[in-house]
Amino acid sequence: MAKLDSRIPPGPLAEKWRRHKAEIKLVNPANKRKYEVIVVGAGLAGSSAAATLGELGYKVRCFVFHDSPRRAHSIAAQGGINAAKNYQNDGDSVYRLFYDTVKGGDYRSREANVHRLAEVSVNIIDQCAAQGVPFAREYGGLLANRSFGGAQVSRTFYARGQTGQQLLLGAYSALSRTVGQGLVQLHTQEEMCDLVVIGGQAKGIITRNLVTGKISRWAADAVILATGGYGNVFNLSTYARGSNATAIWRAYKRGACFANPCYTQIHPTCIPVSGDYQSKLTLMSESLRNDGRIWVPKRKEDCKKDPATIAEEDRDYYLERIYPSFGNLAPRDISSRAAKRVCDEGRGVGESGLGVYLDFSDAIKRLGEDTVRERYGNLFDIYHEITNENAYRTPMRIYPAVHYTMGGLWVDYNLMSNLPGLFVLGEANFSDHGANRLGASALMQGLADGYFVIPYTIGDYLASQKPGSRPSTDAPEFKQAEDSVTSIISRLLGAKGTHPVSHFHKRLGHIMWHYCGMARTREGLETALKEIPKLREEFWATVKVPGSADTLNQSLEVAGRVADFLELGELMCRDALTREESCGCHFREEYQHPDGECKRDDANFAHVAAWEYQGAGAEPLRNVEPLVYEAIKMSVRNYK
């Protein structure tokens, strides 16, 4: 059984990080260059970590499967980044950001980690501004803020609708500088396929070059995974097509515990699926719900009618009806589930029947079209570009979509997994968002981990490793890992089946969406746990992967990732089944308050479930890390 020591430092909450920094071990400057650190991934967390560790003097190699670090999916974040700067003088503080984040996560995150996140949030904004990130400004030249869900203060910094891109370009510029100076070796189009564990410690990785197919061994003193989330298990999501779980999944199979895999956030306002061919769901900013009214027809038979011909009394403004005090601004998870419910009743709109109307006609009457255009013009344009519909004339159609995973590899306070030497940053770890992430907190966490946490905490581990003790890539563990990678590849290419990979990915997505999506039940999850292993068997028997292993072969890349999703999906369902409560985004229909809110069971489930791999075909072990709240009193999450 894995030893899960969270290593939360002693002392009062607000003092922990300061004291910890003062007490953890340091590596002296002359020794730093003797340590080699591998960073996998170059999104916000990976780029910022690689650049900062390179600056500190460590020998850093950064691996990305993209053709450039600037393409990582952090780039697509729209809204903003939170920081407790209190530039608005509206009562914000580190404590409030900490409190909002813990409450938003429905009391399933680790208090000490979240407090540290709130503390370093202020440094992130300083760092990014100094790098030249073009944040929105007020007329006096100082930084502007906007408000975001789950907070009563204005603490979100932003750069038009592309905050993610601008922050990533900042981190990428820092990384590029260190690459140019020779401090970091950048390996693009090089995908991590396995983790090498020697004597119980992470000491290297195996990669495949996506252009040449060459398999390589890389030894290091420590390995950092910053490879993002795993929402593409659902096939359709707001993730980039390339986003995958392979690095963290293969680390899990080497002994790293996977924490809370079932915590998946489903965003209420996305453009609905329009056909079977679809590859991608696009998010529409939640801010639209400030002025739009959400409805579906009262009668099923009206669903295919032109919405303009449906009389007012035949419309069901269901959020306003069910949640009169919050109406269209009900929290994300509540709104998502309500949309699913009306569509399940057969009252959904659009070709697929999986959509609800978001109607601006009242807002246009009240405010005029120009004001609506001023507020939401760019979003109406995106909607038009994708659907070819004019939302000033006819209501938008929206539906919820998967867009973030709060679960990930288990890490301690130092962001080190239960495998010493393996560190996990950003969305790939589990620690900060509990069972639900608040808007504008993902960018904050990625950069906090990379710029301000790992540079301190990695030293504590490396100081315990003798300089120069890094194993040789001739070690048998490297050969074994390489053999395992090549055997997966030849198995995939060897299966001369009858279906393309996409066929299995779509089917897995359907299973996950129906049984492990917005609303889950024991019965449904048990069904999924029967169907996924069957689908996996079918995959290996009938998948068809064309081409060869020694050239650019995109089918092979996708096949390997989907093979991993077919295993991870099962673990997600198992986690959802064993968590017999509802919390945040994990909604079990059996456990709800009469008003449809999540009914937590703090007596039995105020803990992290960290799953430990027990070998192919064996049930994984469910380890538990209790969540102890010292500063915050757990209560029913209430936004009314």
Partner: protein, 268 residues
């Protein structure tokens, strides 16, 4: 074809550049696509064609893509001779089949330029852009050394203009559109973004010299002011930034020639 039911289905022929690898001979191959839902993106049509090729035992068409929402800059199709296709201000992934007539023959090629060698089929290697960035596309600030963010006020107009330039997604359409294969719009966007901010002033000269010179060394061509780059840019980066770049480059060249100290901090 596994397309959804729609009144607006069309049939087209994709005439696609196939090339097995770098330096290998290439050529066009026609792929008829029937009953295509016009709400499909052109990348989604390639997905469907590729699944059909896979089942037939042929090798699928390699093409670069990732976010499919026009922000990562990975997709890079030359469609009917235009980078990212017929519509302005969008990337290839945002090009929908309703932009094409029923019966159309659609010619799809990779972005072509000597500094962007073709990797396979529709995929070209754009790492030259990373090398330009590594030469000087940054403001040197050590992590942890930054002053309070509000101690560096930036006039709103400058911040907005910097943001206009910073919108560049690094896709390379500007290079593919240019008859000289110049990367000048890309460099101009990066140099302007940082050069418009007070934070970017200390390295302003060294940055512009290093980035322009590196682009030249990598084999990108010169600018002859035809404006094809801005027209093809999915983020509609203005041609005016090239004027700004030229001014910066001239001033920096002058200063570096006549006042050695002014160009200090040149990238190592």
């Amino acid at each position: 074809m596994a397309a959804g039911v729609s009144k607006n289905n069309i049939s087209v022929t994709l005439r696609v550049w196939r090339q097995a690898g770098p330096g290998k001979p290439g050529g066009f191959v026609d792929y008829p696509a029937k009953n295509v839902n016009s709400n499909m993106s052109i990348l989604e049509l390639l997905d469907v064609v590729n699944d059909e090729l896979t089942l037939k035992g042929d090798e699928p068409i390699a093409f670069a893509h990732d976010c499919r929402e026009g922000i990562c800059g990975t997709c890079s199709l030359m469609i009917d001779g235009k980078p990212h296709g017929p519509n302005q201000g969008v990337a290839s992934c945002q090009t929908y089949m309703r932009s094409f007539e029923d019966g159309a023959v659609i010619v799809i090629e990779p972005f072509r330029a000597a500094p962007f060698p073709i990797v396979k089929d529709l995929v070209s290697d754009r790492s030259a852009f990373d090398r330009i960035q590594q030469a000087g596309g940054f403001i040197t600030v050590r992590t942890g050394a930054a002053p309070d963010a509000n101690s560096i006020p930036v006039p709103k107009a400058d911040a907005e203009l910097a943001m206009d330039a910073a919108a560049c997604i690094g896709c390379g359409a500007c290079v593919a559109a240019c008859k000289n294969r110049s990367a000048v719009l890309f460099v101009a966007a990066k140099v302007s973004h940082l050069g418009l901010m007070p934070q970017g002033q200390p390295e302003r000269d060294s940055r512009v010299l290093a980035m322009v010179n590196t682009a030249d060394e990598l084999g990108f061509g010169s600018c002859t002011n035809q404006g094809e780059c801005s027209a093809a840019c999915p983020k509609m980066i203005s041609h005016d930034f090239i004027v700004r770049l030229n001014r910066d480059y001239l001033a920096a060249s002058f200063r570096s020639a006549f006042c050695a100290h002014a160009a200090g901090g040149h990238a190592e």
